[in-house]
Amino acid sequence: MAKKLGVYICGGCGISDALDVDKLCGVATKEFKVENCKSHPFLCGEEGAKLIAQDIQEGTNTAVIAACSPRAKMDVFNYGPSVYVERVSLREQVAWVHPPKDEDTQMLAEDYLRMGLARAQKAEPPEPFSETIDKTILVVGGGIAGMTSALEAAKAGYNVCLVEKEPSLGGWIAKLRKQYPKHPPYRELEDTGIDACIKELEGNSKIKVFTGAEIEKIEGAPGMYNVSLRQKGAATSLKIGSIVQATGFKPYDPGKLEYLGYGKYKDVITNVQMEEMAQKGKITRPSDGQEVSSVAFIQCAGQRDPAHLAYCSAFCCMTSLKQALYVTGQNPDAQVYIFYKDMRTPGQYEDFYKRVQEEPGVFLAKGDVKGISEEGGKVTVEVYDVLLGENIAVNVDLVVLAAGIVSNSMPEVAPKVEAVTPDGEKKVTEIVSDSGRYATPALHLQYRQGPEIPTLKYGFPDSHFICFPYETRRTGIYAAGCVRQPEDIAASMDDAAGAALKAIQCVEQTARGQAVHPRTWDKSYPSLFMQRCTQCKRCTEECPFGMYNEDDKFNPLPNPTRCRRCGICMGSCPERIISFKDYSVDIISSMLKVIQVPEPDEEKPRVVAFLCENDAYPALDMAGINRITYNPFIRVIPVRCLGSVNIVWIADSLSKGIDGILMIGCKHGDDYQCHFVKGSELASTRMGKVQETLQRLVLESERIRVEEISISEFKKIPQIFDEFMEKIKSVGPNPYKEM
């Protein structure tokens, strides 16, 4: 459709005090030959809004609104899906942070208007990706987390298929005699409630349970998964919208706990064996079958020890306290010792801890185990009691190792790949956890990036730790329960409800043709101009979410409902063929092209700053709201993710005479904050390479800088700007200016 542009400049909120609005209009009408440019002292007011609405009624389909930040008044300046609105932030980024009626301030505003116009000329309102979708939710794993997810989703009105590989439901909780208290006053053990839960599940007509079943293959994408299932030999296939993975945990291999006497002495067992015994009835000594009258629990049996499990397993402290009561319940005169590194009993569980301490026969001591030996039919545990500063020793019938857990995603041994190098050598490489090929097979996804969800260091699924805990690196697949992190029944149930909600959000958003998360409103999606694709595999490899599959000729095959709309593939593509309707390499390049670069002798350097829309750009708005002033030579361009910055933009900027390029995104690394997981990391790797190239071209590498901040650090932005400008001043003008 032919573009009919309208430009609307607001003079309110101090804008007309700071800027010459008429001159600004001139940029639109004279430079860009826009016929319709209007200004109004109060554009978001009733009269101003009417002004725009009137034009739109008369055929204007693209509105450039030069007023406040695009993050403000979104409801006011919204004209429906068919009108493209471009917002130029004259308020937060110009009027509020630069001296009024100043030459540089005016130049900045004019550049921003040019950039907005350039963008508006090329961008189109996105059209949603639409397909018929299925909203059934698949839950993999029938432990407490899986069962809870299934029930929650069904209660919210969704059909659910629950797949459990064992013949019966329940997972670990089916093996517990009792659970530690979940209700006030947190003093007495409770039944696990597993039977009632299974009954409710089986009685719910929206839930279809497949026990003794495993997934063979999952093809497709959110909203249109084809799941192939094998149940007792028979194959079934299901149409699925989204998935909750609740495949649970396995205990840490006790064979590795020989240093604590496991395997050496019969009467040294694990907490899992203790639970089994308790469930069967009597707690006895494996060596002679006698009932126990004294037991020592050793906490953190391998946990929080880098040589074994570096992390805390969350429920083993509470579990030992519970099991101590099994012992004193069986024999009130029994003596129970609990040796701990720290007792971790969060929240109200403290009350239960206290209750167990009150038990006359229970003794606790913080210490390090110094030795375990067997003598005269008893096991002696010697402990350095750190609070006493002395060694103590107990002689007991039974030792229980409170061992930890490992996510079921964690493979027994890291998988390896064999490859033949160009010179014919065979090379075996271990697959790293940060890969879809690492985790223990469970989902069998037919994704180019591998059949399972990428995991972190210890085999738990990768997710944005703080903001989006349930989202895995595969859109539409949500992890819950102990597969995601060590947690107890109550926490697993919370998790399960959260993951179910996420799965619901996924099918609903997908049905609307919108991104699921985190750009929930976004209807745009990448399209590829395949004629120019060189099959370089950059997009298929670098998409953090495995959106692209590949055909045999290595052509990328997009699955738009898997996409999070980060634009990382767009940043990766050397051929610049990946575009969104409203965000493309070409659109940003044209914005760069219209920036006016003064002659070097004017001593007005120009810097382009790409700011991530998730944290850095809102932080810039906050700096504006707080009226924190900064250098006026910087031109800010918001980007969906630093990972979406295409190297071409750097080249375009430099060849045009821009003196420096700044990129501000979220933190990367182990504790990354990047909303798109890999974006900021990729950006810094790519820029590292660009810097090398610059050096080869005898251009100073300092002209490019990547910085990381979080939204709350808005006060740092002006600082970063000013420091960078200092650097650019010392490096001198871009030599390409004169060419």
Binding site: Y337, L364, A365, L387, E390
Partner: protein, 382 residues
Amino acid sequence: MSPAVPDKETVDIIREMGGGTLKICYQCGTCTGTCPWNLVRTFLPRRMMHRAQLGLIDFGDKDIWTCATCGACAVRCPRGVEMIDVIRAMRKVIAEMGVAKVPDSLRVSVKNISYVGNPQGEPEKERGSWAQDLGVKPFAPGTELLYYTCCIPAFDAKVRRIARATVGILNKVGIDYGVLGAKERCCGESVRKSGNETIFQELAKGNIQAFAESGVKRVVVNSPHCYHTFKKEYPELGAEFEVIHLSQLLDQLIREGKLKFSKEIKKKVIYHDPCYLGRHNEIYDEPRRVLQAIPGVQLMEFQSSRKSSVCCGGGGGRVWMETPKEERFCDLRLKEAIDAGADVLAVACPYCMLMFDDSLLSIGKESTIEIKDISELVLEAL
């Protein structure tokens, strides 16, 4: 050294002796961080609790006698461990079961109390002599109020001034009161805290009987220790009388307009909260109100006051035990008062007076500050 072996029997005994809350200590160390002893020497109640939890208490350890039962730790303990009960239980094991030696000076004082009803070992019949020249009438049935005189003011030549000031006020106000003299014995509070439960019980029962026989309904006391045991421990043994601390009575009289000041005391007065009046019984405001009501008095506060007040070191039987000169934390308190520029350190407890008097002598600052009971100040201003 061979490792120590936890002993459940010892724990059970401590529990039976009343130290049951030791089980719930989770070793946070707040008590050690709070205990005033650590201002002057190392004393680790946390570790003592843990030893006791494991039954690894060495009953010969002198530190069992160190605690002044000030309660600073107990009000802060996040677990609600009653350290004082635990320590009392351990002392009980020693004193009553004879598993170790009781410190000599304590043993003598307790023996005196058990024989003659006062720690000083003075003849019982002399208990009322302090009042001889003051026209105090013996308590007779129908008398409204009993003034129960703590052993310290009754027999200690220096602290006697508290008792004399008290009756001076009561006489001026014209309250119907009397004293029991030789009929009353030590209240037994510190006897109990030092583990001598049997003697305490005898003392308490004796006093209860004496009070009942004389028809006592209401008692006023100077000592927060007497107040504490009368209020919180005697009722379990059958006591039915009401007890009031002198500061409460004075506050009440001032508010009712029955006590009027005619003189000014133009002095800076700093008030020290006695542990047993403050932390143990939460009486913080009455003594302050009384002092503030005295014309001319400028009331000052310690850095640590009210709930955080620092003990004088005299509770829990410590008043009868020897404390090395460099380990007296009331010296620190006194120095703080002097540094703050106070003219008078006001107390509301005979133990505090005894301890601070001693401190004043030992640090040699008699000319800079006076130690006075609130009763003395009130009487001066009447």
